[in-house]
Symmetry: C2
Subunit: 304 residues, 2 copies
């Protein structure tokens, strides 16, 4: 078995993923925990990172490259932003060293869109985009990266031209936990109702201005007709995703197709939403894209 | 001083308002508390009501008429719904007696819209509508009653033809307390920024599909340009109200004007939002409308 050349880490607000990677870019070992940076302060980062590396038997002094919220102002060390239009290859050049006694640790920057009429930021997704598209110039693509704060990104010839964040997942948590609708969804965490989801996607996509009413209809339906918590939960999810798609998809070009970078349940939900609207989708696994993007940057940084 | 003929109560989820009213419909005394029905169970209602009546020196046996969430399934006693199209005068005929040892207590029903494609419910606003329009046939009016669950109601000739609820206030609480935006608004409970509010109203009204992005822009603006918590709070409020207005106002007829039934800060905010969009508004005080509606029903019930 080959030796690890570096560790690649995607350190988000609520999740931590680490891979040991060999010189050819192949993952040798992997570790995932919900130990995101939200629960940590700056002095915690180095020992937490070391504990995960030790658990995988990583050599002392193995260099580490990190993307994600660990580079935010309240993260380990602020890694700043590359401004749009942003060449994806430039994120490797702008990596910042994090303080560590015995390792070379670097954190990749995020992207910022400083147009005052549509300010926006991302941290972590730029690395997935680099992994998905590589350094090579490509044609233009509209990319959806769903999540707590979903990103819709226009990429052309290896450059992020512009992007738009929709706080869909964050709204879903708040709506299901802290509004009148919390009663309607109680106990439905893992149930499914595909028809309810799809009809809610269509309704919100067709009438985004009614979003705050379509959400309340979940309550009205419960009072007037009963209704399962699973259906209520799926309607809320479908309404918020349909609203996002109404804002993210160009009006004329829904037939042109988009690139979806997602994993797991989000991948399934967004695939279903795009299918409901007959939008062709090319899907790339988000975890693989993150690892690929980190590997491209690690080779650029340590093989230079 | 004249003697009270009955007590009128607007008992909502989070508020309690009581008036002692004379035979001519004039309020003799008033009491307001945040003792809404959310914190009460069925056996609490009679003693809580009596304590407020005693505090105002109301005679033993004074009859009481109640509107609002006290008539919900989980309220004092379920008062059911009048279905749309609903004559406003019919709510008096459908009042339900609540159990009380020594008083005649009646609770008014709500309204239900049972169209399965747009189910909806209200409790309390029907009484305000009756107070605003009376028993008399009128022309048609589009009425906005803002709140936790804002109602947009089409009234024609004393009949509620249809209505639409937008959970704007509920979303505002959830978004400011339970999303990433909670950091941006900390400590800004009573501050104002009229320009931020108005520009957010316009942006969401013009592009409702971007609502979940316009909200996230509050966060992006904070990270990239700093920004006062008051401005952040006003932008969130303006975005959600602008989204509501995009759904509630008919596309062609914004010049036709609407009737706003509201009090206090909500009245000020929605007036400002309509003014931003150059929509003419006739405003009716919500508290006065509730009292007037209860009085119309009380006379119909006890003078019959």
């Amino acid at each position: 078995m080959s030796e690890p050349a570096y560790a690649a880490v995607d350190w988000g607000t609520s999740s931590f993923r680490l891979w040991l990677v060999d010189g050819a870019g192949a993952a040798l070992a992997e570790r995932r925990t919900p130990q995101g940076m939200a629960a940590l302060t700056s002095p915690d980062f180095a020992p937490v990172l070391d504990s995960h590396l030790e658990a995988l038997g990583a050599p002392r002094g193995l260099p580490v490259l990190i993307c994600g919220m660990a580079g935010a102002r309240k993260g380990w060390v602020e890694a700043g932003y590359v401004d749009t239009p942003a060449r994806l290859s430039s994120i490797a050049e702008r990596a910042v060293a994090a303080p560590h006694a015995s390792r070379d640790v670097r954190i990749l920057p995020g992207l910022a869109q400083r147009d005052p009429s549509r300010p926006d930021v991302m941290r972590g997704e730029e690395t997935q985009l680099l992994g998905a598209f590589g350094f090579e110039p490509t044609g233009r693509a509209l990319v959806c990266l769903p999540g707590t704060h979903s990103k819709w990104v226009t990429v052309g010839a290896g450059t992020v031209e512009r992007f738009t964040t929709f706080m869909t997942g964050d709204l879903f948590s708040a709506v299901t936990q802290r509004t009148i609708l919390s009663h309607a969804v109680a106990g439905a965490e893992n149930a499914e109702d595909v028809d309810a989801f799809r009809s809610a996607v269509s309704a919100a996509f067709d009438n985004p201005a009614l979003a705050a009413n379509l959400l309340f209809q979940v309550r009205s339906r419960e009072l007037l007709a009963g209704g399962a918590p699973a259906s209520a939960r799926e309607r809320i999810s479908g309404t918020l995703i349909g609203l996002e798609l109404a804002g993210g998809l160009p009006k004329e070009a829904t037939g042109q197709g988009i690139t979806l970078i997602a994993s797991g349940r989000l991948r399934q939900r967004y695939s279903s939403a795009f299918d409901t609207l007959s939008v062709p989708v090319r899907t790339i696994d988000a975890d693989q894209a993150a690892l690929a993007g980190l590997s491209i940057c690690a080779r650029a940084i340590w093989s230079a």
